[in-house]
Amino acid sequence: MSLLGGGIFKGMAVTLRNFVGSYFYKDRLTTNDYSWRPSDKLPQHAGEYPKEEGEQLRDTTTVTNYSRNFPMLLHDGSEPMDTIRCVACQICERECPPQCIYIEKSTEKKENAGGKPQFYPAKFDIDVSVCMSCQICVEVCPFDAIVMNSQFELSTPDRFGGLLLRRDDLLKSNDYYHNIHPEEAAARDKRIAEEKAAKEAKKKAAAEAARKKAEEKAKADAEASEGTPDIQEDAE
């Protein structure tokens, strides 16, 4: 027969151990003491958390390669609208589960970073009050034009206008992307380069094969296959 009330005393020993332990072993604590931080130095991005004296170093709430918040549009060069990757194909708009993306295609084509004339989004709005950060738009995008941002401090007193991100708010440079998701961005760039190389090789081969038949026609074919996303093959 166990001691009367023994279980209670055992439990009290555990809580006492935790009480004392919380003063000596920082890894017992779950919370960070950031009360010393002035309010204008509070973190804005997921990656900006701790790593200063008095905060837990074990805390893993840091930026990871896959941390995601709301989408952003990538552009390659310095002038956003000249180098925007998006061609307004509207696949993301169609696939977005909560349907928070609204795109209006431009009426005329414009040269993109690669120097090809392409459509571009005349309007690209994301309602982040609806967006649920699922990253489906990123996955279905055949042009790697949309990726996830990790900025989370979006609170605003303007409930409707402030939370509707316009195209120009969404445009971020590829360098910024490398900055917040280095590993993911590097992998993506590598894949794009590989695909491009493969495409170029294919194009070269196709061009060579076509030159034997008819030059003009082959050229037209290559352009068409480039303009059509891979995804549509899958969707068959």
């Binding site: 009330g5 209670i8 439990g11 990871t64 896959y66 699922c134 279905v140 995804i231 899958d234």
Partner: protein
Amino acid sequence: MSSATAIAPNYELIQQDGLETSLLEVSMGPHHPSTHGVFRMDVKLDGETVVDLQPVFGYLHRNHEKLAENMSYLGSMPFTDRLDYFNSMTNNWAYALAAEKLVEIEVPERADYLRVIMAELTRLVNHVSLVGFFINDLGALGTPLLYAFREREKILDLFEQASGARMMCNYFRFGGLRNDVPEGWLDRARDVVDHFPVFLDEYEQLLCENEIILSRTQGVGCLSRDLAISAGITGPMLRASGVNYDIRKVDKYSIYDRFQFRVPYTDGNVGDCYDRFMVRMLEMRESIRILKQALDGIGDGPVLGNAPKVFKPKPAEVYGRVEAPKGELGFYLIADGTPKPYRYRVRPPSLINLTVLRDMCLGQKVADAVIILGSIDIVLGEVDR
């Protein structure tokens, strides 16, 4: 003066001299500190004793099934996170399993291992926080809950590193996983898994012998084996009532046949809240065993096969199910040849386990009703869908 129409067999209100005690009707919920979400119980009390109980739900109904029927197969993957928002990984898995059956996609081995690891981590998260909530419902001032949340936090950090989100992971894809885990993740996971038993020992020391917990939970909310089977109860709750049924063992889906693990269950004598609590405590140990084996056995390779993102399956019917921490979670899909499912149906363990709430609560005290609800382990996202 309302009369108690339906009264549990072990509780008799004898009317003598024309006197009946006036019953107190209390609407517990949908905003009550212990109703686990927006759940309401219309309780009729005779003093402190529950004479009738009517569960009312639907406050969190979001049209999940119909939404999915108007969306491509991939599109409803993030919505499955929101079913049982504690265990998004297993929700994803069940849906992925169903869709993979539908379009016959192979899953790479590394992806399977990672899926097992994620699912078992999810089980740890669910059980540990459930026990915390359960003890909180018993009236402890959050201490076990916060210990549980500290451990949960470590696992959620792992999830965040892998998938970018802590709760709405949205990590599984048809044919594998969305992305591979980052470098060093497996070591961190191993570290967490190695330290978990230390915490469990402390937790057991804090809870399992506490006389108050014993007296509060033993003999309370008994669920008989027969009722459990005929009501379709699954998961730890069924095993606590003495039925050895675990889909991991029955279906051997994915690569569960490669691991050595045991399924704890009771002899079915009692099936009370204490049994449900203990079965979960024991299950956590087994999950750790699986995790250790999986972390040791995982190899290199791709995590996503050559599966298409958007597809049009041939007309077919499939049912994919996994052993979610709360019980059998199944997805039933009917494809009609379009990119959208013709019918999309979820078999949520929470809802079906909840159906026996009334049978378990009648004749108990109002405080027991709270802990019985806690021991069922419901998440309203899944109940209401």
